[in-house]
Symmetry: none
Subunit: 305 residues, 5 copies
C-alpha cells in the first residue's frame, strides 16, 4: 500500500507525467524497504566497466546473468541495474519480479583515458521492450568530454520521460583537472549532485564524500558560510541539500570492496545525514550469495530504522 | 512474490518481450487475487458509452474520476480500466497504486447504429505517459465495420507490444446480422474469443455466454461433437478452450446490473468452468462504495477458493 | 498574483506538464476576471461558420480582424478564440495583450449536412508560432462522422499537450439521430460534456441546456435518481457534475443573439449553478464596440460577484 | 542439398532479391517433399474464418496452437500457415522447426456478405518478428470489394519483398456476380490464378477446378481453342498454364472434408496435371493426429512419385 | 530435426522474438555440425580488410565471390559471413543453400591507424533483402574510437532484432593502449567477450587467447582467485564463462595462417574448453578448394566428437 512518505517524495516531482511517477513509485514500493522512501539498489555493470575476471572471479556464480536478478530478489533490493546484455539475458525469466534500471551508457578500461567518455550502449526503446522502470546514465563532470555526455543525457532523458520512464544518473567527477582525492571531495560531490539534478535526473547516484575540498573558490564559500562537513552525516546532509534541498532522491555508493564494519558505519552516516539509500555492487556480488544477502539485510535494517 | 501459477500463465506467451511479460505479471500480481492467476478488474467506460447520468446518477460520488481509482484500490482489484479522460484525471495522484488499462477506443450512443464502429480516442503514447500496464481495445465482430476495427487493433497492438505494453481486447459481437439473443449465444461468444486471440490479444474479455446457438452451421458442429453447453460452467469451459485451449487469459463481464445472488452464482459458474476472472463495472460503481467493496470482496473470495 | 482558487483548479490537472498548467493559468489570470477562476471568452469563428455578411454586416468594423482583439482586450475577456486567418492577422500586433485560442477545425455552411464533419484548418504548429495558449477543437457528438473528429482530436490533443498547450473542446451534439430540440436537451448536453472530458479536454464548451430529455434510457435514469433539472442553475450543476464532478472547466454559450435581459438571466443561472463562465460571440461583436464592452462588463460583474 | 528442380523453379523468379529467393527455397527444401519442388502445406485459419467449434470440436486437441505446429512437423509438411494469434502462440517454441506463413488478412462469418472483404489482421513487421518465410493474403476476385483487397496486397507485397519475404496469395473467386458453381468453374479458377500472378504472387493457392464454365465470353474462347478440360488433370494443366505457363507455383485446396478416396484421387489428378501441390487444412486437423499424419503421408507419397 | 542441445541453447535467449530464435536455430541446424550446437563458420572479409592480393593471390579462384559460397557449402559450414559486395554477388545464386551473415562494418588498411574505427558499409535492410540470418559487426575494444562503434552497434542490433535477425559481434581488442601481445591476452580476450555480450550480441567471435595477462589490475584478480589459464582449454573455459557463464555462443578464430597441426591442436583445445566453435577464414580460402574442404572436415570432426 502506498505510504505517506512515498507520496511525499513523489510530490517533489510535480508536472512529471503519471508514467514517470508510476515508475518512481515502483522503485520505492519494491523490496524490503518498499514504502520507506529508502533505497538499496544492486548495480552490476562491473563486467563491462572493469572486466569479467576482476568482477566475478572471486565469486564465479556471478558470471551468470540470472545470478544477479536472483540476488537482488533474495536480498529484497528496490531495483537491479545493469547494461543491456545482462538485462536481456534475464528480464523475461524474471519479468515482474523486481524493477529494472537499464544503463544506457558504459565505459571500459581497455582504453583508459584521463578524460573519460562513456559509450552509449542501449536505447530508450530497449528499456521499454525489457520492461525497465528507469534508464540509467553515467556522466563524468570534470572530463573534457563532459559536454558530450550531458548532451546525450539531455536527449535520452527527454525521450525516456515522454515514454513514462524514470531517469537515474550516476554522477562521477573525473578528468584531467581533478585530483584523485578531488573525485570524492565534498565540494566536488555536492557539485556533481547539483549538475545531475540540473540535467533533470529523478534519482542521483554519487560517491560518499570525503571532507577534502578541491576547489579554491569553493573552499572560501564553505569557510565563510561555516558549512559543517566534519562528519559523514554532515557531508551527506550537504549533498542532499545540494540536490534541490532534498527534493531529488540522492543515493550513495561505497565504491571498492571494504570491510563490513567500515561499510555499515558509512551506511549509518548516510542514513543519519538524510541520504536516500545505497547502491551496493562489488560489496555484494563479490561475496557468496548468502553472505551478500546477509550484508544487504544489515544495510536495509539501518535504513529501515 | 511471483507464484508458480503466474509463471505458468506467463509461459503461454513465449517470444513476447520482457516488457510485455512484465506488464502481464503486474496485472496478475496486484490486488487481493495477486498471485492466483485470477482477475477481478474494474472498468469504467460507461460515462462515455452510455452517458454520465445513466452511469453515475444513482451513485453521484462516481462522477468524480478519483472515486474509481480509490474503489478499485479499496476492493483490491487487479487493475482499473478507463478511457483517456478518466485516467488522465487520476493517474498521477494514484501513480503506482494499481495497474491501469487505457481504453484506446470508445463508442457513444448519441449516434447509435446497427453496425457499430468505436472511435479511436487515445494512443499508445498516451498509455506510456500515463504509466498504463496495458492498452484496451473493443472490437464488434459481426458489425459491417468490424474490418476497420480489426485493422486498427492490428496496428495498435504491434505498437503496444514493441513498447512493452500488454493488449486487452473487449470482443463484443454486435451487428445487423446477429440477433439480440445471438450476441451472447455460446457459439458467437466462443467465436468472438477466438477472433480476439487470433488478433494477438493477451487478455480477452467477453460476455458470459447463454446456451443459445445462433449460427446454423455452428449448431451442426456442436451437436455432432456433443459439446456440452448445458451449465454455465460447461459453456465457460468451451470459451476457455476456444481461447487457444486456455493459453489466453479470458475474463467475463456480467453486463447490466443484476441481483447479487444471480451475479455471484454466475461468478461461481465462471470459476468452476476455468474462467480467469470477471470484469465488474456497473454492478460495482453503481452502488455505494462500501457495498461495492463488499460485493467485489465476495467475488474475489470465490476466485480465491 | 496567483490566487488560491486558480491553484485549486490547476490541482484538478495533476500529471499535466508545467507547460499545459502555465497556459491554463494564463487563461485564468487574464482580464477582468483574472484570479477568480471564472471565464468570459470572446470567440469569433462565425465568419467561417456562417459567412461574413451574416456575421459582420450589422456591425461593419467587425470585418477587421484587429477589431476583435481590441474588443476582447477592452472588455477584459480572459481570452480570444478564432480560426487561423483571424489570429494570423492580429496576433503579432496584439502579442502579449491577451491569451489566444486557435481553433484547429471549422465548418462552413456552403456544404451543409445532417451529420456534420468539421475540417481541420490549422495545426498545433500554427498555435505555437502564433503564441496561442490553447488549441480549440469542435466535435459533433451524434454525427455519423463523430468517430473521425474524436480520432483527430486524439492526435491533436496529444501533440498539443506534449508541446505545453491547453486543449479547449467545443462539444456540440448534432446529427441525424438527434432532434433539433435534443441538441440542447439536458441529457445530451451533459453527455457531450462527458465525452469531451473523456477525450482529454482541459476546458469544455457546451450550450446552455434546456430541461428537455432526449434519450429514453436517459429519461429513466434521471427519473429514478431524481436528478433535479427544473431551473437552469440545476441543469448547469448537473453538467458541471458530468464534467468529472467539477474537475474540468466547463463554460457555456448563449448561442444565437437574444435580448440582453434574457442573456443576463442565463448568465446568472450559469453562475448560480457553478458554471465556470461564458463564451459570448454574436451577442458581443454584432453590436457596436461600446455596447459590447458594456454588456460583457455586466456579464463579468455577475461572475465576479 | 539444393536440388536441380528447386533451382529450376527459383529461376522462374529472376530479379527477385536473394531474401525472397531464400525464403522460397526454404519453403521448397523443408519437410518430406523437400527438394522435389512439390508442396504440402498445413493451413489453419478456420478458427477465424469459421469459428472454433466448427473447426476444432471434432478433434479437441486442435484447439491448442501448439498442436498444429507439431502436426505439420510430424507429417513433414513444407510449411504451416496461420493468422497472427496462432503463430504468436507457438513460433518461439517451434523456432526453426518449420517454415511459417503469416496470413495478413482474415475473414469471419459473424458478418457474412455476398461481396466479402477480408480484414487486415497482421503486418509485414509481425511476419519478420515471428521469423515467417512468407506472408499470406486472401483476395476474393469477383467481390465488389476486390479492388480494396488488390490494393492492400499491392502495398503489403511490395513491403514484404523489400524485406526478403515471399508472397503467397489465396485467390478465391466469390461475389454477387458469381454463381456458387462458378466459384470453382475452370474459367474462373484459371482467371483467379492469373490475377494472383499478375498481382505479384510468388505462390498461388486456388481451389481445384470443376469443368463448369461460368462466363459466356470465356466459354466461346475455350470452345474455339478446344482447351481440354475434361479430366481434372486437364484442368490443372490449364490452371498451371494460366499461372504464367508454369512459372508461378500454384497449389490447390480440397475445401470441405471429403472421403479419403476422393481426396487422394483429386491429389493424383493435381499431380498428373503438373500442379505444384496441395494445401490441406480441414482434412488433416479435423481428424486424430495419427490419422492426419497418415493421410498427409499418402498425399506426399503421390507427389513424391 | 531440432535437437535437445539446440533447444537448450535457444533457451538462453528468453524474451527474444521468434524471428531471432528462428535465425539462431538456422545457424545451428545447418551444415555438417547441424544439431550439435557447434559451429564452423567461413568468414571472408579479408579482401576488404587486407586487400585482394594479400587475400586471394595465393589461391586465385578465391577472387570470385561464388567460390566462397561453394566452399562453405562443400565443407558443410554452418554459415558464410562476408561484406555487402561478396554477398550481393552470390546470395541469389546460392539462395537457401547456406545461412548468411552480412558484415555491416569493415575496415581497410589503406588508412591504418593505431586506434581503428570500422566503417559502416551495409544496413539491416541489406541483410533482409539478401536473406541473411544475421548481421555481423566488428568492435575494437581498446580503440579510442570504441565508443563510436559501441553506439553504432547499439542502433543496428536494436533494428536487427526487431526485424528478427540474429546479431554476431566480432570483438577484437586493438588500440594505442594495448600492446600487440595484449590483443590476445587472456584477460583482454575475456573482457572483449564480456563487452560484446553486454552490448547484446547473440554470437560472439574472439581470438583464441594466450596465457599473457595485459592489465595490472586484472593480473591481481586472476592470481587472487587462482583462475586456471595454463592450457588453451583452461583459457577457453574462462572466456566461455566470461560470456555470461556459457549462455552466449562464443566462437574462436585462429587468426593468421598457421600449420595444420597447430590449428587442429588449437581446435581441440577450444572444443575441450567448451568453446562453441571456430571461424576459419584465411586457413581455408587461402589453400586449394579440396584441401580446404579436407581441413574444415577435420575441424568439424573434432567438434562432432
Amino acid at each position: 500500500m502506498m505510504t505517506k512518505r512515498v507520496k511525499e517524495i513523489l510530490n517533489h516531482y510535480p508536472g512529471e507525467n503519471a508514467g514517470v511517477l508510476t515508475n518512481l513509485a515502483r522503485l520505492m514500493m519494491s523490496g524490503r524497504l518498499g514504502g520507506t522512501g529508502k533505497f538499496v539498489i544492486l548495480p552490476v555493470d562491473q563486467g563491462f566497466e572493469h572486466g569479467p575476471a576482476r568482477s566475478f572471479a572471486v565469486n564465479p556464480p556471478a558470471y551468470d546473468p540470472a545470478y544477479h536478478f536472483q540476488l537482488a530478489l533474495d536480498a529484497g533490493c528496490n531495483a537491479y541495474a545493469a547494461p543491456l546484455g545482462f538485462l536481456e539475458a534475464g528480464a523475461a525469466e524474471f519479468a515482474g519480479a523486481i524493477p529494472l534500471i537499464l544503463k544506457l551508457n558504459n565505459h571500459d578500461v581497455l582504453h583508459d583515458e584521463k578524460d573519460p567518455l562513456s559509450a552509449q550502449t542501449a536505447s530508450v526503446k530497449d528499456a521499454l521492450r525489457l520492461g525497465a522502470a528507469a534508464i540509467g546514465f553515467t556522466i563524468y563532470p570534470g572530463s573534457s568530454n563532459a559536454q558530450i555526455m550531458y548532451s546525450q543525457l539531455r536527449e535520452l532523458a527527454l525521450e525516456a520521460k515522454s515514454h513514462g520512464l524514470a531517469v537515474v544518473v550516476w554522477s562521477y567527477p573525473r578528468g584531467s583537472d581533478i585530483s584523485k582525492e578531488g573525485e570524492t571531495a565534498i565540494d566536488v560531490v555536492a557539485y556533481a549532485a547539483q549538475i545531475a539534478a540540473q540535467l533533470g535526473a529523478h534519482v542521483i547516484k554519487v560517491k560518499a564524500p570525503s571532507s577534502h575540498i578541491e576547489l579554491a573558490e569553493a573552499k572560501k564559500a564553505y569557510e565563510k558560510a561555516k558549512v559543517p562537513i566534519e562528519t559523514l552525516a554532515d557531508r551527506i546532509r550537504h549533498v542532499v541539500q545540494s540536490s534541490f534541498n532534498g527534493k531529488r532522491i540522492v543515493i550513495f555508493s561505497g565504491g571498492a570492496t571494504v570491510g563490513d564494519e567500515q561499510l555499515l558505519a558509512e551506511v549509518k552516516g548516510i542514513h543519519e545525514g538524510g541520504g536516500f539509500g545505497s547502491i551496493v555492487g562489488r560489496n555484494s556480488f563479490q561475496r557468496p550469495h548468502d553472505k551478500a544477502v546477509e550484508l544487504l539485510g544489515k544495510i536495509m535494517s539501518i535504513y529501515a530504522s
